[in-house]
């Protein structure tokens, strides 16, 4: 079975082809690339999903060495995301499905993230925990089987990736802040500044990062610009450590609660090398198996949408053509 996946929920315009669970192609055009090149490279000159999506789909089909007529189904993100952005993918997917007379499947973006790891780690078995750490989300899910998910942890304010970004801004570093903080933190002393690792009264599994943002701001406000510059790698290292400690502390708690040993990580923060190092240490200590999918599968992409669509198709599902885009679509209560 060959499934075309389409993802346009926020910044990325992406299309991918999955054949019998194997990834054939995954083309991702990021709004960040647009920003970087600012229209210099003609094929990425336009920032709009609607302008780019058709050629991205053609590229995905071509790279998979198939033709449109080989497709057995179209899977597309129908939520959560931005209404205007979702509609571009959803409408094109419906049109293609009608034109090719094949099934169409609406996929929950978050479900896609949960299945991204299965693409390059097909031996992953249920149940597993999926930790999604990006600019927009910080969550830990347990995936008990296909379609059965429990949300254990969520941020109550800012996401971890956002904490990296805003911390970088406060330190006068560039955007995106994640890689900048990581670079600055190298050689810095992670114990020099004592940033908070908040424990929440209401839920011991949830994350909160907005207090950390306030803490780094006021640490810097007490310093002159020169002092900040002199201590910047220590501040960055201590700040990064506080974010990572908080992430891993909650992961450990969810593991202890569920006794699930297998863990998959998704989201842009998975690229942080200090996070990987400390996550691997924790896994070794607790006897966990932790899997970091390839970065292109960690961030928003259509491969994961095609994969989740493929799983749904296998279980005999398909969506009705009147399926609407749902910006605040949730996966579990």
């Amino acid at each position: 079975m060959i499934v075309l996946g389409i993802e346009t929920s926020c910044d990325e315009t992406s299309a991918a082809v999955i054949e019998d669970g194997l990834l054939k192609s995954n083309v991702v055009l990021s709004q960040e690339i647009h920003r970087e090149y600012g229209g210099v490279v003609p094929e990425i000159a336009s920032r709009e999903h609607e302008v780019q999506l058709t050629s991205i789909i053609e590229m995905a089909i071509e790279r998979a060495s198939i033709s449109k007529l080989d497709l057995d189904a179209i899977a597309v993100t129908y939520g959560a995301g931005l209404m205007g952005a979702l509609l571009v993918g959803l409408n094109l997917a419906k049109g293609l499905a009608i034109g090719l007379d094949i099934p169409f499947l609406g996929v929950n973006h978050m479900e896609g993230h949960l299945f991204a790891n299965m693409i390059d780690n097909p031996q992953m078995e249920y149940p597993f925990l999926c930790m999604l750490v990006s600019g927009g989300h910080t969550q830990i899910w347990s995936v008990d089987s296909f379609g059965e998910y429990t949300l254990f942890s969520n941020t109550v304010d800012d996401a971890a990736g956002e904490a990296f970004d805003k911390g970088a801004r406060i330190l006068g570093l560039k955007y995106p802040g994640g890689p900048e903080i990581q670079r600055e933190a190298m050689g810095g002393n992670p114990d020099k500044y004592n940033f908070p690792r908040p424990r929440l009264k209401r839920s011991e599994y949830d994350f909160s990062f907005s207090g950390l943002k306030t803490a780094i701001l006021y640490t810097c406000k007490k310093m002159t610009d020169d002092e900040i510059l002199q201590n910047r790698s220590d501040i960055a290292a201590s700040y990064q450590e506080a974010i990572i400690d908080t992430l891993l502390k909650k992961l450990k708690k969810v593991h202890q609660k569920t006794n699930i040993q297998k863990i998959s990580v998704a989201g842009g923060v998975a690229a942080n090398s200090r996070f990987r190092e400390k996550a691997s240490d924790l896994s070794e200590k607790l006897g966990l198996q932790i899997h970091f999918p390839k970065m292109e599968l960690c961030t928003d992409n259509a491969a994961m949408i095609a994969m989740a669509g493929y799983e749904r198709l296998k279980s005999g599902e398909q969506s009705s053509l009147d399926l609407p885009a749902i910006p605040n679509l949730s996966l579990a209560g």
């Binding site: 920032r47 209404m83 205007g84 927009g136 969520n154 304010d157 406060i170 605040n328």
Partner: protein, 140 residues
């Protein structure tokens, strides 16, 4: 918006939430509220309070990366954040003007970048950090 809401000075996140909650009683369908204030001024915390006042019991998180969060509360609330996306054209492509002329309540963080698109009759609220924990919150 109904008149009469008095801002105030808060000295904790909880108090900022409570002040946001007090504002929700004055908000009417279709209102557009802009929130201006520096990083860590408590804008998202304040929105949490407004949603709390609309009996919304799910998580309210920062829209910095997601750009727009929609909440089905007593009134439908559209929570936008222009911090990360400074390309006006992208906001237009996302249909931001359709939101402005709907009955939903629109709350906009970092509104400066799209100020040319925001209808004139909006309510502008400022959040100022007085100290690490104190915030002064008032209608401009």
């Amino acid at each position: 918006m109904k008149s009469g809401w008095k801002g105030g000075v808060t000295s904790s996140a909880e108090e900022t939430i409570n002040l946001g909650k007090s504002l929700s009683k004055f908000i009417e369908a279709g209102d557009i509220i802009t929130l201006e204030g520096d990083l860590a001024a408590g804008k998202t915390t304040f929105v949490k309070g407004i949603l709390d006042g609309f009996n919304f019991d799910r998580q309210v998180t920062s829209p910095t990366f997601t750009l727009i969060n929609e909440y089905e509360a007593q009134l439908r609330v559209i929570h936008m954040d222009c911090y990360r996306e400074n390309d006006l054209q992208r906001w237009i492509n996302l249909g931001i003007q359709d939101y402005f002329f709907s009955d939903d309540v629109k709350i906009i963080e970092w509104p400066e970048i799209i100020s040319a698109l925001i209808p004139k009759d909006h309510i502008s609220i400022t959040l100022k950090s007085v100290s690490e924990f104190e915030r002064k919150i008032y209608i401009k």
